[in-house]
Each structure stands twice: as C-alpha cells, then as structure tokens.
C-alpha cells in the first residue's frame, strides 16, 4: 500500500503538478477584479460570491470582486474601462465578435500569456484546450485569450415567431424563409388588429448588420468575417471562403432586399417611426402585442419557455438566417473568452482564479446555479430545476460568466423544452460548417481612416434600407454604393484581401 502510494506520488510529481503548485507563492492575500458586462445584480449574487471567496481564500488565498459594465452604453463603457485601466482590473471577459477582443489586443489592453504561465497557473485550462484551439487565440504568435471552447451554444441570428399564428396563417411547418416571414407578418396585419407584426426598436443600429446580413446569408453563400468595425466584409462561399464578396458593391440581391423591405414598411409590418422607437420587443411579444422578435438561437431557447408560460400554446419557433441556402457557420470558439488585463498587478493569481472558476465543480456550480438544495436541485438526468416561485432577478445568481463555461460541469435546465431545442440543434449540425476565418485578425493600421468613414456611410444608409425608408429603394442602394466608393471602399477591400491572402495563401 505504502509502495503504491509512493508510486502514485512519484507519478503525480512527474506530471509536474505538485512542484508547480509548490513553487507558487500565495502568502499574500489578493483581490482579483473581474470585469464583466451586465447590470449589477439585485439577486443573491453577493451571498454566493461570499461563499466562493471563502473557497478561493482557502485554495489560493485570493478573492474575487466584480466590476460591472452596465448595459446602458456598454460598448463605450467597456472600451473605456480597458483603456483607462491602471491595475484596477485583472480578469476581463471578452469576445472576438461582440467585444472587440482583437482590436483591444492590438491596442495593448490584454497581457500576452506565455505557455509557461498557462501551464503553471491555469494548468487545467491549459490541458483542456486543444493546441488547435490555442492557436486561434494567438496574435503574432502570442496567446491573448482563453477561449470558451467547451460549451455548446448557437448564437446565429434569425426571427422568433409564434407557431400558433404561423399555423393559422397556413404555414403548417412554420416559418422557414423570408418569404414565409412575409406571409406570417401579413396574416398578423390582416387578422390581429392590436398586434404590430414586428414592433422593432430601430433606434439601436444593431438591426442593420443582423437584417442585412440575414438576407445576404439567406440568398447567397456568403460568410461573414468577424472583427470589422463595419459589417460589410464577407467571404464568397464555403468553397471559396478567402475571396471577398462584392455583395455590397454590385449585384441585384441587395437591391432585392431594399425593395422587399420597402414593401414590408409600406405594408405596416413595423411602425412608421421605427427608427426613433425605443421599446422592449421581447416584453411586447410576451404580452402578445407583437408577433416576432429578431435575436439569436440561444435567446430563443429560453424565450420559448417564457412564452409558453405567458402566452400558452404560442409554440415559439425560430427561423434562422441562412436557412434557405443551408448557409450556417458554427460559433467561433472566441465568441466568449477570458483575458488578463495588461496592467494587472497579480496576473498569476488572476489565472489561478480563472482556472478554478472554469474547472472547479464546487465553485462552478455556485457561480452558475447558486446554493444547491436552496436555489436549485439536480435530477437523475443531470438536469437542474429551480424551486417554485423562483424569480431570477430576486432569488438567482448572476456571474455572467460567458468566458469559460464548461459542458463537463454544466447542468441542463430541466425547465427548457429540450425536445424542441435538440431538434433545432440537430438540424444545425447537419448543415453547419466551421468558422473559416479563425486564424485571421484584421489589422486596422493602414486603412483605419477609410474604415471610420465607411462606418459612417453604413450607419447612415443601412438603417434606411433595412426598414424600407425611401421612395425609391433602388436609388437608395445606388446612392449607398456610390457613398461607399467615395469613402474608399476599394482601397479597404484590396487591403483586407491582401491581409486574408497573407494568412490563407495556399
């Protein structure tokens, strides 16, 4: 027995875990500040955090503190917090598609992480992420991000619609194309006088890339390239991904889109003053005042259950952009990632905290679900349920940990409709392809001036095209294209093309 123990110990030592841990000096108690997007929670997060801090103190003599970037004006606040850091933040939740991870890496917001650091201070994370995945987190050879690469989710955009109304409208199988969507909206317009088919809040400009890109992926094989300040850079198709598409510069599809949206606007599928309307579309849908909500699959999985409760029988369905062409790209693994702040005073300890958040079952479950028994229970299938009357905003816990969720430790929510969700995921899995541009990081230094003006052109014209706000959509598209030319689109296109060629030249 003793011998066996000795052998085991020797093996463990050989693996390098004991010596590594032994070398780390954790005598000083440190506070690790975690920058996270989301509104400061009003629920039991602080209680749970106190418990987690007990565990963290015990394990590595550290504690965690939140710094919330509230949703109001979050893009500005987030980037400002990164720019003005002076050791006041340590861990930063980030993403290459929606939180500018690469531009921020280029601007020096994040600490480059050496392999030795990761192996020493975040060994479990280092082990669990494959080499191929680490390579997608490198810029100029250095690792900047720790990816959320073991968490199944889909954040591809589309439209949520009510299955019951779709059937009434004669769409027996639901909405599966933009044409179906038009039928669905027209049915609501004709038969539900108090309902606005889609009461979009066009004040936020976020609809432009979603809607324009949605039509584009539904009518062409184009694939969006992430990480640009303007959403007009697409690869040609999955067979020819590294040639830039000229969709926004020429061709009829964009004109067709503009014409169709003009028709929708004239038919009253959204309010006439959509561009200045600021309402909560999801809340309106839950109250039965609007028939659709444009967001992504992950939102739909939760919203379906909410809708079933608030509008029984609504059978909320999801039409995903690209469905007509089976044009669907898997989520990039850096849709969520954790980075260490460049000015962090305790980068080693920050990594250790992250390693525990991501891999320690006790801490992970506290973070994601709260106190077991009191706040949730797990059934024999490994699915969790909340007690009756549980209100997330009061009784829940919100760590907004979207930067290292781990399917090995996740419990599925027993209250979600997994039959519908799994069916949807199965359809996705049949057609999806991997994101082809994981290695490519856009470099803004040569064409930044043009890019800002393009950004303005896009933000000026695209909302009008998307919501059909013109007398002559064809002329509006022509005007948009001319403005892109004037702003230097060709220069930028050739620069981006040459950057792509440099990475993916055969």
């Amino acid at each position: 027995m003793k011998k066996l123990f000795a052998v085991l110990l020797a093996m463990v030592m050989l693996l390098g875990i004991v010596p590594a841990l032994a070398e780390i000096d954790t005598s000083e108690h440190v506070k690790i500040v975690y920058l996270v997007t989301g509104d400061k929670p009003t629920n039991r997060t602080d209680e749970v955090l106190a418990k987690i801090n007990e565990l963290l103190t015990e394990k590595i003599n550290a504690e965690l503190e939140f710094r919330w970037i509230e949703w109001t004006d979050w893009q500005t606040q987030y980037n400002l917090a990164l720019a003005t850091q002076n050791g006041d933040i340590d861990l930063i939740g980030t993403a290459t598609d929606w939180l500018d991870a690469w531009p921020n890496s280029q601007k020096g917001a994040f600490l480059p992480l050496t392999e030795e650091m990761l192996q020493t201070y975040a060994p479990k994370t280092w082990e669990s992420v494959s080499e191929a995945h680490w390579n997608l987190c490198r810029m100029n050879g250095q690792i900047y991000l720790m990816p959320e690469d073991n968490y199944a989710q889909w954040t591809n955009h589309g439209f949520m619609y009510r299955g019951d109304w779709a059937r009434e409208a004669g769409l027996e199988n639901g909405v599966h194309s933009w044409a179906d969507l038009a039928v669905y909206f027209q049915y609501i317009k004709d038969n539900k006088p108090d309902v606005i088919p889609w009461d979009a809040n066009g004040n936020g400009s976020s609809y432009s890339p979603q809607m324009a890109g949605g039509w584009q992926t539904s009518h062409t094989g184009n694939i969006a390239i992430e990480g640009f300040p303007v959403a007009i850079f697409y690869g040609e198709s999955k067979d020819n991904p590294y040639t830039l598409s000229r969709y926004y510069l020429e061709g009829d599809e964009l004109v067709n889109f503009a014409k169709e949206m003009k028709k929708w606007a004239d038919a009253g599928y959204w309010r006439a003053d959509v561009l200045n309307y600021t309402g909560d579309v999801a809340a309106e849908m839950e109250e039965g005042k609007t028939g659709a909500h444009q967001h992504h699959t992950q939102t739909w999985t939760g919203e379906r259950t909410t809708m079933e409760r608030k509008q029984p029988g609504s059978d909320l369905g999801f039409f995903y952009f690209g469905e007509e062409q089976a044009n669907l790209i898997s989520l990039n693994i850096t849709h969520g990632a954790m980075a260490v702040a460049a000015q962090s005073r305790h980068p080693e300890r920050a990594l250790m905290v992250y390693d525990l958040m991501r891999n320690d079952p006790e801490i992970y479950h506290l973070m994601q679900y709260g106190f077991e028994g009191e706040m949730y229970t797990v059934d024999e299938n490994g699915r969790f349920s909340r007690p009756d009357g549980f209100e997330d905003s009061v009784d829940g816990v919100s760590f907004n940990f979207w930067w290292g969720r781990n399917d090995n430790l996740e419990y599925k929510n027993a209250q979600l409709d997994w039959d519908a969700i799994d069916a949807m995921y199965a359809r996705y899995d049949e057609v999806k392809i991997d994101y082809p541009y994981g290695q490519y990081i856009y470099d803004n230094s040569n064409v930044g001036v043009y890019m800002d003006n393009l950004s303005n052109v896009y933000n000026t014209y695209m909302p009008r095209i998307v919501f059909g706000m013109s007398d002559d959509p064809e002329a509006l598209v022509a005007e948009f294209r001319q403005a892109l030319q004037d702003a230097g689109i060709e220069t930028v296109m050739s620069e981006v093309q040459s950057q792509l060629d440099a990475v993916y030249a055969q």
Binding site: N79, N444, Y450, N459
Partner: protein, 319 residues
Amino acid sequence: MDLDRTAAKRIRAPRQPSLGRTVLQHRTLLLMCTPAILFFFIFAYMPMPGAYIAFTNFQYNMGIYRSPWVGIKNFQFLFTSGQLGLLLKNTVLYNLAFIVLGNVVQLTFAILLNEVRNKGYKKTAQSIMFLPYFISDVLVSLLVYNLLNFDYGFISHLVRSTGGEMAKVYQNAGAWPFIIVLVNLWKSTGYGTVVYFAAITGMDSSMMEAAQIDGANAWQRIRYITLPTLKPTVIILFLFAIGGILKGNFGLFYNLVGNNSMLFKTTDIIETYVYRSMMNSFNFSQSSAVGLFQSVVGFFIVLGANAFVKHLDPDYALF
C-alpha cells in the same frame, strides 16, 4: 456709468502696488475665487497636456505619452470624410440660432419678470421655466417622440381626430431645425432668464427711482436704463458662448435624432458624425483630434470676437 469709469481710472492712476500687497489687500475676494480657480485648474488645465493623445497611435499599455507619435494623421479623418462642409454648416448655424434666439428670449423673459409685481407669481413662473433645464435629454427625446410619432403620437391623434392628415415628422428632415431649436429654447430659457434676472436685480435702484420721478414710463425705463445696463452681461455671455460655436450639444441631438439617417441632412453635427463613425472602432486618438480641432478653432473665434468688441468699446471686452 461714465462717472464710475473715470473714478476707477483715477484710483488706478498713481502707482502700481506690489503683487504681495495686492494679494493681501484682496485676500477675501481671492479666497472666494479659489474654488473656481481650482475647478478650472484641475478640470481644464491639468488635462491639457493629454491633448497629446491626438497625435499618437494610442496604446493602452503604454499610456498617452509613450504611445507612438503619428503626427497629424488622426486629423485626416474629418477632412477626408467629404462631410466636413455640411457638418460645419449645421453645427455653426444651430449654435448661432441657440445663442441669438436664446439670448433674445431669455432677456425678454427676464425683463417681463422684472416688471411683474406679484411676488408669488414671479417665483412660480421662474420655477416652472427653470424646470425643463433639469430634464435629461433622454427624457426630452421620449417626450418629443410621444408627441410627434406618426402612429400613436399625441399630436397625430389630435390632428386625426380633427380630420387632418398628420405629416411623418420623423421622415421629414426639413422640420427638425425648428423642433431642435424649439426644444433647446424650452430647455435653456429658464436658466438664462435667471442669469439676466439676477443682473437686473443687481442694478442700482436709484437710477430707476430717478427715472420714475422724472416721469419715464415702463417702456422708457426698459429702453434707456435696463437694456443699456445689461449690455455688458449680454456681451460677456455672448463671448463665452461663441467659443463653443463649433461644439454641438451631443446629448440633445443624439437623443432627438438617434440613428435616423433620414434626418441627417439637417441634423448631423460634428459630434454625432464622430460618434457614428467611431462607435465601432473606439479610436480615442482620432476623436481627441476632432475635439482639439474644435477647441482650437473655438479659441481663435473667441480671440477674434474679443478683439472686435475691444475695437468697438474696450470696456466691454473680456481681456
């Protein structure tokens, strides 16, 4: 007034007292100025070297002063946009409208208030006028939207119930200069009125009494006493305002217009353009370059305006 001026000259004439003596003599006044001096030192002068950021390619981990120097590259953005003419025109014209109309209305209201004898009415009117100043632009934009929107707006309902046809205000760029100027007047009149009203209250009452005894009527008192006495205040406020003529009120414009590009032709100002262009790229250097440009131009406009005033009447100039 002329008497005052010659008196002042006579006192100043003999010999310049030493600096220490001046400080000692005016110690109370200086003490009272200290908060204002500190305020401007901390918030206006200390950050000034940071304008250096406009000439760099700002790197977060290097800080402002160690980031690489790129010269005037960051200034090109505004000039290559092809929009500068329109933006300057909109920004300057709106500001002129705000300054001129604003001051005229504020002055009128202050004088009218001064003529009101009922104290309770005077106080109430002042408070009600002041109130909009404290309403945030976000709320103002909601109010305007709920008044003017085509489908459900209050005015739309009124128009329709009287059998009229409502215009689509949010798709009609021509209407917005009027709406924006009106909203701005509504918001700022109360505040400005109080400033002028304070100046009127501070007037030497003996002049008024003398005029009354000499039989001057209300109109004559306003024309020959109140207005000339207020002239320095008007000029100083004007000089202060003119320095910001290239700076737009971002909060007001952005909240009222938002991303509604149908209205940009008449509502786009430098700030909203910069915001729209850079909200995705977070280029601090470039946005600082625009800010610096506005400030420097504003600085020279103030100098010019001051020189002009000085040329007309040295006593009214700021410096």
